[in-house]
């Protein structure tokens, strides 16, 4: 079985009490992609991942991973999925070597060379106890344990959390390593947009339990654009611009970030009577911030202080 879609959910929903943590999630992850799963804390990423791995029962809806229903993952399918959970849970009393032996006993495709390479990469000594490892080293061990069985699908739940830049780089390198084979898929959640920019093909964005974006990285960058409108005097009130993410009013300028919708946007902008309209590029991080931040007009953050200056006559 070699489906082109490795993860597929339909209306996947999970409530905690009366609050939906994940609401009607429809998600498909094509084989061979590096898929970044983004969103703020508490937006439902971890819940989704735990459901995908059958560790948490969906309230309704469902899905499949590698063609197998997520509520009934067989050991065979699990063997093909590498999973690095949040905070890299491992048995603290084991040594690095023991962890490897423990893990190896479950996988027929265990590749000791990969394991040794990755732990070497993270500077891990084989006889150290897991509980004595730093966070970055735990991440490294976790990754080594997950990569060595040569998983078809790698699911990483915020692997970069709390890692120093060096460890983070090693993490990204490990992910790049996995893409050597075109049929390997990586599904990872993270807050590190620089890493996303380096490795991701596609991004999906969760916002308060709902999926808001699912597109290629390129499309995301193209769609979230910043427009600067310069005016002779005080800028007018901001009309309802379709897809508006954020608006900042400056003295003679309106700075709008919006999702480029089907053309209607430009017409609205033209009506504002700006002297000049300029497109200003956004970095991925800024675009993401706008996408998930508070919507609508944002008062300039120092406007209150400026008002004071005016009052005192400066």
């Amino acid at each position: 079985m070699n489906e082109s879609t490795v993860i597929r959910t339909r209306g996947l929903t999970r409530y905690f009490g009366g609050r939906p943590a994940v609401y009607e999630l429809d998600l498909e992850v094509p084989r061979g992609t590096v898929f970044a799963f983004l969103g703020r804390n508490g937006s439902g990423k971890t819940t989704t991942i735990r459901m995908l791995l059958g560790l948490l029962a969906p309230t309704r809806g469902g899905g499949s991973v590698l063609g197998c229903d997520i509520t009934a993952l067989t050991p065979e399918v699990r063997a093909r999925i590498g999973y690095v959970a949040e905070d890299h849970p491992l048995y603290g009393w084991m040594t690095v070597r023991e962890s490897g032996t423990f893990q190896a006993s479950f996988y027929s495709r265990w590749d000791e060379k990969i394991f040794q390479n990755v732990i070497g990469h993270f500077g891990l000594k084989a006889d150290r106890r897991v509980k004595e490892l730093s966070r970055g080293q735990r991440a490294g061990l976790s990754l080594a344990l997950t990569l060595a069985p040569d998983p078809e699908l790698l699911i990483l739940d915020d692997p970069a959390l709390g890692l120093d830049p060096v460890a983070r780089r090693s993490l990204v390198e490990s992910m790049i390593y996995l893409t050597r084979r075109a049929d390997r898929t990586i599904f990872f959640s993270t807050h590190q947009l620089a890493d996303v920019e380096r490795v991701a093909d596609r991004v999906a964005v969760m916002d308060d339990s709902v999926l808001r974006a699912n597109c290629s990285l390129e499309t995301f960058r193209n769609q979230v654009r910043q427009v600067r409108l310069f005016f002779g005097g005080t800028p007018p009130a901001i009309p309802p611009v379709p897809g508006l993410l954020r608006a900042v009013r400056l003295e003679r300028e309106l700075r709008l970030v919006c999702v480029q919708a089907n053309g209607g946007q430009d017409a609205v902008l033209k009506q504002l009577g700006a002297e000049r309209i300029e497109s200003a590029p956004l970095s991925l991080e800024e675009g993401f911030l706008c996408f998930l931040g508070e919507r609508g007009e944002q008062p300039f953050i120092l406007s209150g202080i400026e008002a004071k200056y005016e009052n005192s006559g400066i």
Partner: protein, 686 residues
């Protein structure tokens, strides 16, 4: 599997070692006490308060029981709890093995450690204790049964502990419920008649808890995908645990009810030293009336007020009750009591300890120096082997040894047996023997044949007697009260409870006063303690309300109380409450959450049998989905169903905000509704 087992062992070995050390310390302490006792005996201290067979000491047994129960429970809990930390649980469950394998690995590791930590020290100790030359006391394999039972009690507690550790429940109180189930399992095991039945019961209970554990390993916290067997096992375990909670609640409720409600009044008789009979009537706690047989309140000659209960106590005569029937035997027909009845530690003499062996009917001597068997005493005298000439006693009452026709006194110092009282020829065998102790230490012996009740003075002479048969053929209870002045007695003949119950409680008690062989007077009195046949006590009603029909029979066994209400009376209260409250509540609950019809049927059946505990088990067996207002009809609907159970509206898709960026990558079709697609067309990339 192997690595999983070794991982489990590694994680629990510390507790196991700790447990083994605890048990070893306990056993060593027990041995130390035993040695101290032996030393005392050698020094001539002949007070025998301490059990000389370490295996049968009550302290040892109690400690052992608590140890096994706590150790087993802790071991299971640790194994369940250790991996339950959020992340590790996911790590463990993501192993590419079946969940049953995970469960088995845990269990194999846990039970092996339990067997080693608890079993090994015990085995060593037992082996030592039963090897002749170590313990100056008789050994029988039956003595090991309670030890074995306690060891096995650890198993239900092990799985109960694991269940406590594993079950993800929000309501903390219900986490501990499986422990209640283990307590119920262990308690019921002790009231069964035969040991093999107890073994079977323990096995069944343990298996139920184990299956419930295996099911809790399932990562699904909802009902989906969980095997039906483990659902059933969990329901049973929880119901049993809740039964215990309800039993406690019912007893407390009954206590309150009994205090506040005008309870059914009951009375009993007290025989005064002068031979007068007082009737003590209690209507509710605190309200006691002491009257004479003409219902006149008895006044205290000094205070001129009614006499108090304590005042009555000082007036009452010493008495002894002898059963000539087999009631007493029937009541204690439990392997438990039999195992504990064990051997009677009789007396210590310089150099020897004497035991009465009921099975053999002889006194056995054990040398305190060699700690080996040295001989037996039977009716015919001393013998160096166990069986002697084959003659044996039929029982022992205080200092008096009996055979069917003769009472003996034994001098263990001289190793002499002396016939002391013989039943006159032609009167048939002795039916019951007792010793009437009084405050002066003058112990009369009561001996009843089917014709006569004899009251025998400590020097062997018959001090009083009265005919028994044929006037009271079915009255197996003979109570003798020692009156003043010496030589006077009041003898009560009472029907047995079951006999009287069969006769509708119409049989009276008969009292015969005698002075020596002279028959003074007699009177027939309505039997005391007559229970009302019409209704239950408030206490019993409280129990019947909260406890289900299913718990009735076990409760009867456990209580061992002959006054326990008949099942008809019980069901009159229990069944209506169950059917009118527990069943409808459960059905309403299940309808609300739309359980499958089969599940509803099974639970409904269980609810009828299981009453409130089953209802609580239903509530706590799984997590229940929340309910949120339906946007279409505004009524609250269950979130785990695709559509509203009231109006059929589906849950709306996520509200669009106009900022969605969805891009199909040829094969990817995202979005559930056609109209909701506010996404944008992909830009041309090539």
């Amino acid at each position: 599997m192997k690595t999983l087992v070794s991982k489990e062992i590694r994680e629990t070995i510390k507790l196991a070692v700790l447990g083994a050390l605890c048990l070893t310390a306990m056993l060593v302490l027990s041995y130390y006490n035993f040695s101290a006792q032996m030393r005392e005996l050698l020094l001539g201290e002949t007070d025998l308060r301490f059990p000389l067979q370490p295996l049968t000491g009550p302290e040892m047994r109690q400690n052992l029981m608590f140890f096994c129960v706590i150790f087993g429970g802790l071991l299971g809990w640790l194994q369940g709890h250790h991996d339950r930390q959020q992340g590790l649980w996911g790590f463990l469950l993501h192993r590419p093995v079946t969940l049953v394998t995970l469960f088995l690995a845990k269990t194999i590791a846990g039970l092996s450690l339990y067997a080693l930590a608890a079993g090994l020290p015990l085995l060593v100790y037992i082996t030592w204790a039963i090897t002749p030359g170590h313990v100056a006391a008789p050994y029988e394999s039956a003595m090991l049964l309670p030890v074995l039972a306690f060891f096995l009690f650890g198993l239900p507690f092990y799985f109960a502990g694991m269940l406590v550790g594993l079950r993800p429940v929000r309501w903390f109180g219900s986490r501990l419920i499986p422990i209640g189930a283990a307590i119920v399992i262990a308690a019921c095991a002790t009231v069964l008649p035969e040991f093999w039945q107890a073994l079977l019961w323990l096995a069944a209970g343990t298996a139920t808890l184990a299956v419930a554990c295996a099911g809790s390993f399932h990562p699904q916290d909802g009902p989906a995908g969980r095997p039906a067997a483990s659902g059933l096992a969990t329901a049973l375990a929880l119901a049993a645990g809740w039964c215990l909670v309800f039993l406690v609640a019912g007893v407390m409720l009954g206590d309150v009810l009994g205090r506040s409600l005008p309870g059914r009044s009951w009375f009993y008789y007290v025989t005064g030293k002068d031979g007068m009979i007082y009737r003590v009537t209690r209507s509710s706690p605190g309200r006691t009336q002491i009257t004479d047989l003409k219902d006149q309140v008895v006044l205290d000659p000094e205070t001129h007020g009614p006499i108090s209960v304590s005042g009555l106590q000082s007036r009452s005569s010493p008495s002894e009750t002898v059963f000539t029937g087999s009631i007493s035997e029937r009541r204690s027909a439990r392997w438990w009591s039999q195992a504990f009845a064990g051997n009677h530690q009789y007396r210590a003499t310089p150099g020897a300890v004497w035991f009465y062996l009921p099975k053999l009917g002889r006194l056995a001597a054990y040398d305190t120096v060699t700690r080996r068997f040295s001989g037996t005493l039977g009716p015919e005298g001393f013998a160096t082997n166990l069986a002697g000439s084959g003659a044996h006693f039929s029982g022992i009452r205080g200092d008096v040894f009996t055979t069917p026709e003769t009472l003996y006194r034994v001098n263990v110092y001289e190793r002499i047996v002396r016939p002391w009282f013989a039943v006159p020829a032609g009167e048939g065998p002795l039916l019951g023997v007792g010793q009437l102790h009084d405050r002066e230490g003058l112990d009369h012996t009561i001996a009843a044949t089917s014709n006569t009740v004899y009251i025998i003075h400590p020097d062997g002479g018959v001090e009083g007697s009265t005919p028994y048969q044929p006037s009271h053929p079915q009255y197996p209870v003979v109570r003798v009260c020692k009156l003043e002045p010496a030589g006077r007695f009041a003898i009560w003949f009472e029907p047995g409870f079951q006999t009287n119950q069969a006769a509708g409680f119409t049989l009276p008690a008969r009292v015969q006063w005698i002075n020596g062989a002279e028959q003074e007077a007699s009177v027939e009195l309505p039997v005391a303690n007559r229970p009302s046949t019409a209704s239950l006590d408030p206490e019993q009603i409280a129990l019947a309300i909260v406890l289900p029909p299913l718990a009735l029979e076990p409760l009867r066994w456990i209580s061992g109380d002959p006054h326990f209400p008949a099942w008809k009376d019980w069901l009159q209260v229990s069944l209506p409450v169950t059917i009118l409250i527990a069943l409808p509540t459960g059905l309403w609950w299940m309808r609300r959450y739309r359980l499958a019809r089969q599940t509803q049927l099974a639970w409904g059946f269980f609810l009828v049998l299981g009453g409130f505990p089953a209802l609580l088990a239903l509530f706590t067996a799984r997590g229940w989905p929340a309910r949120v207002p339906c946007p279409a009809c505004r009524r609250r609907r269950v979130v785990n169903r695709g559509q509203c159970e009231h109006c059929g509206a589906r849950f709306p898709g996520p509200a669009r905000q106009g900022i969605e960026i969805f891009e199909s990558e040829a094969l990817v079709a995202v979005g559930s509704g056609p109209s909701e697609q506010a996404g944008v067309a992909p830009p041309s990339m090539h």
